[in-house]
Symmetry: C2
Subunit: 229 residues, 2 copies
């Protein structure tokens, strides 16, 4: 028998879910920054190494935007990212790239899935946070570099294209698994996702629909890279 | 029997030495960027991880400044950095840090030595390039973070302080060796260093004096970190 929550409780829950959402994205960004930077040394040409470094630096700029928003909610970014460190590091450990182009595909696909998913979720939460998430997802230049570099790498190399297509499927599987586990384990996110935050949340059916839509966009993204979905 | 060089030849030599100087610094910066970024994941606290990432991003910004100058001399940065890749990578391979704080000391000390050395050299070459090199060496904020973080790490840990002091000595030894080999092997730099570029170059005695002065500044830098020289 659950009693009605007071407006103060609803507020507190909404704030906690916002911090979670910003925290998981922020940790994803700072983790991607370190991985892409390290990966840059494996680029086959200096110009690609520089472009990969620029991509990494842009990921860090996203981290700083998200951390600033966390701080504006009165929370230390270190606290906000802590609960998600294990899940994100685990995703990266299970999807360790064996070449720089696999690393690039992981960054592009991983970013895309995370942003699509959390943008869809944040639509139920706070329009301002939804806008920030969409803004972060909307980096034309970065995506263009990734698309061009992957297309260049697979051109005339159908074996690599086939390997990267498989890689893309594995990435989406791992990402969806992590997101579902995370959503189930983190109270503030779970409450949001089962519709327990100020009435207008998602329910489990809604979560399924979001994942389906994220998976559809993922197919699109693979095709843009010149890979088959 | 060497004939007098024509003004056009002297110009060409000066330009080649400038490109070399910018190239070696640029490669050092983009290499430091990747290493520090990768190292950031080992930081013991989230705030230190973020600060290390900011340090790395600033190294990359330096790379972009140097690369822009190379481009303004009509040279592709990829060409300018290529001759120095092996020496810089070799320096890093021989000084692989076993902890994040060793990595931070390496970045701070390595940056300092490279900038001091090449600023002294470029004084004989082109004032504008000398200014750029000094500007790059003059990052108060970055140095302050490194100094504070290393001091914090060694405070109350004399064993670590002793280990890092040894580490600092090893770094300067390796750096001086690499710089001397590089100066001897690269024609445009060697000509500059033996006084063969438009009359006003250094000679081998001058090179010795520069290295002595760089080593003195290095002692200063170690003391600032709370380490013994």
């Amino acid at each position: 028998m659950t009693r009605e929550r007071t407006p103060a409780e609803a507020d507190r829950d909404r704030r906690a879910a916002s911090v979670d959402l910003l925290g998981v994205l922020a940790y994803g960004k700072i983790a991607a920054f370190a991985l892409l930077s390290a990966e840059s040394v494996r680029a086959p040409r200096h110009d690609l190494r520089v472009a990969l470094a620029e991509y990494a630096v842009a990921e860090f700029a996203d981290y700083e935007l998200l951390a600033a928003r966390v701080r504006s909610l009165g929370v230390d970014p270190a606290q906000a990212v802590a609960p998600f460190r294990a899940a994100v590091d685990d995703f990266h450990a299970r999807t360790a790239p064996s070449s720089w182009v696999e690393g690039l595909v992981r960054a592009y696909i991983g970013d895309g899935i995370a942003v699509d998913f959390f943008a869809a979720v944040s639509a139920f939460l706070d329009p301002a946070i939804g806008e920030l998430v969409e803004h972060i997802g909307d980096h034309g230049g970065r995506a263009d570099f990734a698309i061009a570099a992957v297309r260049e790498a697979v051109e005339g190399d159908p074996a690599l294209a086939a390997r990267l297509s498989l890689w893309g499927r594995r990435l989406v599987g791992e990402a969806v698994t992590q997101v579902q586990q995370m959503a189930a384990q983190r109270d503030p996110l779970a409450r949001l996702l089962v519709g327990d935050v100020h009435g207008a949340g998602t329910d489990l059916g809604e979560l399924g629909r979001i994942i389906t839509s994220v998976t559809d966009t993922h197919q699109e993204r693979l095709r843009r890279l010149g890979l088959s979905a």
